[in-house]
Structures are given as structure tokens and as C-alpha cells.
Amino acid sequence: MEKRNLTCIGCPMGCQITVEFDGDNISRVTGNSCAVGDKYARKEVTHPERTVTSTVVVTGGDRERLSVKTKGNIPKDLIFDCMREINRTSVSAPVRIGDVVIHDVCGTGVDVVATRNVGKAG
């Protein structure tokens, strides 16, 4: 049986939640003051996910960097693998918001997409 302490992000209360669990099997959630906290804590312990935002190099553009994001959440433990792939990537201008920059990043099924427009230089 493992025990983990979490801060709920559901609202500014920031309840200190304790989750007791064994693998994916959650036996007890305590410290939360509402259902949002319970749901958050269960997900956070079994399969936590995050959106990753960063930039990639853009060539021939009116700027040096293109901001990007994972189009959906990816597993939290893949954040740094995702960053390595992002940092290996460069694209050429022009780029439009929503253009796919990396397909299926780290085999997550999630694309990395552009979050701004970059026009051609000059």
C-alpha cells in the first residue's frame, strides 16, 4: 500500500489530499472537501497527464521561434521525452496556428501543433 500527498488544483482552496493506493487500485482518498478533489486525486495517482508547451526553431520566418503545444494531454512521465523530440524539430516558414509540427509525439497519439502564425522573412 502506497500513500501520496497532493495539492488539489480544482479551486483556490488547494486542499491537501492524501491518496492510499496499490498500483491502480485506490483504497482511500482523504482531505478533499468536494467531488472535484476526489476525481482529481484518483486521476493524478493512476494516470496523470499534462499539456506540454514549448517552442521550435523556425527557419526563413519573420521570427526565430515558433510556439507549440501538445494538442491534448500526454502522460506526465513522457514530458521530458516529448521535450527532446520538440528540441530536435525545426520547421520552415510560413506556419499557421494549428499546423502539425510533430505527428504522434513519443507514440502518444497526440500531435504537437503550432500556436502562432509565422510569416516569411522580409
Partner: protein
Amino acid sequence: MNGSAAVRQEEHMETIDIVIIGGGPAGLAAAVAAKKNGAGSILILERDSELGGILNQCIHNGFGLHTFHEELTGPEYADRFIRQVLDLGIPYKLDTMVLDITKDRVVTAMNRTDGLFQVRAGAVILAMGCRERPRGALNIPGFRPAGIYSAGTAQRLVNIEGYMPGREVVILGSGDIGLIMARRMTLEGADVKVVAEIMPYSGGLKRNIVQCLDDFGIPLKLSHTVVNIEGRERVSAVTIAAVDEHMKPIPGTEERYRCDTLLLSTGLIPENELSRGMGIHLSSVTKGPEVNDMLETNIPGVFACGNVLHVHDLVDFVSEEAERAGACAAAYVKGSVPPAEGPDIPLIAEGGVRYTVPCTVNTGRMDDLLTVRFRVGAVYKKAFVSVYLNDERILHRQKKIMAPGEMEQVILQKKQLLAVPDLKTITVKIESE
């Protein structure tokens, strides 16, 4: 300039219905609303080389949950408004610095194409945003080595220019930009050693503390501050210490961190040099203009919105406020503002409420509903937000939690205000029961 030259220039001065100072989230939303509410000519003056303001460097997500019901990054949120400005054909000038605005709304500005120029504005909307509190205002001892940045400067270097300002980082202040940069620098390979916060609570959002610090095991030390910075050419170490209830460092609690970079995230100040220059009354609490229910300053026809008015935590509320300023400015230039009835009634902030925006209300002019935004001065759990009309309490609502980092609001109803004979004051306060 002699007298006759001044007269000649006056004759040639272009007149524009609404001139908006700043093309960030506030200026963009104000422009769109002004156009939709029937303003004729509008001009946005922006000093950066693109529209969107600070959102362009805020590449993280979490923007727009209230406005668009989805999580956008800063540039995506800005783009939603920039597209509306372009679709409505609202003119704007980039790389343009506004130098002066007179009481009768003559705007002096300059850029490389037009040189120095003046326009006469029917109404002015101030949307200049805010800037970070600099190191000089913090009284940290030590030399002046390289490697000390405001968090926002580091954000610009990393996200726009593509430079890493350092590899081993200490952050002073737990405002949201500092928290966001702790994660951003970590993702780019830096070692963020600690975030020190002088207050006993963080000014940042819970979500950011969890996802920017806890996720990466970065410690947050509350009631701690920087007491020494080492290094002559470049920062080489930073010492932090615990502080007592008077915020004085406690001897013996010092901890030294080897690092090459110190980021400062210690608060934002509305940027009101232009407002001050034209004689606008500024609040000593918000450092922004004192405005009435139309978000109009003490100078008729001059409105303010967004972070130049008071610092916001959520851009959604900036957009909402700016839409109101845009609509009111449009009404002003069209001459369709409802006539005032009686004197403006002061809104008084008391008992834990630090300020209110607006500062005054006129029952003739106001809409049926008026949003009053405010901040509290400390953390309150299970306390009540109360509103009094004269001495009568008309609102008493319990909140699970209120904190200085989260803007609060109450909504005033015109009919409730009209129902009170001889209304003199409206008081917003926090009560324990």
C-alpha cells in the same frame, strides 16, 4: 515652435473618434467592442512590432477558459482578438510610441514611418498594461553582476528570442510568471533550485504551484527572501533566509545556493506615466486610474481597462473589462451616454477589501447590472463578502476561500441602488460572520 506654426499644425491635425493606447489583450478587446458599438474611426497605437502584447510570450496554456470555454495558449488567445480587429478593418500602427496625451485628448506619438505626429481623439482608451517591479525597488544588497533578470524578461528571452538566460536558477517571488518560468527553464534543461517567497502564502495560482513546482520537485520556501547575491561579473551564488512577521531576515536561517541566475517575480505595477502626465487621478492602492462605472477617469472621454487599471490574474477578465471600456467610449463619442442622476456615489473598500474598480457609481448612468472587482489583503477562509448601501446590508455571501492572488467580484443591481432613498455610500467589506 512659434505661435503661428502651432496653429497651422492644429488645423491639419487628424481627428479620430477613439484612439486606443496599447494593442495587447485590453486594447484589442476594447477596439472590437468600440467598433461593434458604432464608433466611427478607431486607431490602435502599439509600441511593439506586433499586436497581442504580453500574450505573445506567454506560450503556456490555460487562457480563455471563461471566454472561449477551452484552454488556449497566450498567442492563440491573442490571435482570436487580432483576427476580429483585422476582420473589422480597425486601423493600427505598430512600433509606435505614444509620448504625450493632453487633457483635451491630443495624442502625440512617433514611429519610423510617420515621424512625430499628433491626432485629436474624441475619446481615449488607456490600455498600456503593466510592468514588472524592478530589482531597484527591492533593496537587495550586493554588486550588480550579470544573471539577474525579471521573470518576464527571462520569458521573453526563452520564448521569443530562443536564448537561455542561465543554467542554475534561484527565483525570488512566487507570482505566476515566476512559477511559469520555473517550469519553462526546467523543461529547457536548467536546474531550478528553489523559489523563495517573502509572504507566508504564494501570490500564484494553486494550479501553477502544483504543475510548475511540485511536478518537478522544485521547493517553494514561504516567508523567505534573498539576503545576499554573490558574484562580480556574473551571479555565482544566492543566499536566502527565513523572515519574521515583520519581514525581517532571521539570523541563523541563511541557506546558500550556487547558481548563475536569479529571476525576480515580485509583482506588477500598472504603467501610468502617460496617465499621470495628463493629470489623471491614480489610486494609491492599485497604482491605476480611479474610474467611474463607465471605466472613465476623472478626465471626461478618457477611459481605462486591463492591467493599466489594476493588475489582473486572468486575461478573460481583462477582455471583459476592456469590452465595457470600448462600449462606453463608443457611447461617449456618439453622445448616447445616459444622463447622470444626482452625484456619483463612492464605493468604499473596507475590512480586508483593498480596493474596488470602479470607485464610483452613478445610478442614472449605470447599466442594470454592474460588476465591481476587488482584491482582499490576506487569506480568508469561510468569510463573507458583504455589500452595504448606506448602513443596510444587501449582500452577504460566504466564500470558501479568498486570497490576495485571486481577484473577486460582486454584482450590483441598479434597482437595489434606486430603492434606497438618499444613497450616500456603497461599502464592500469582508466579514467573519
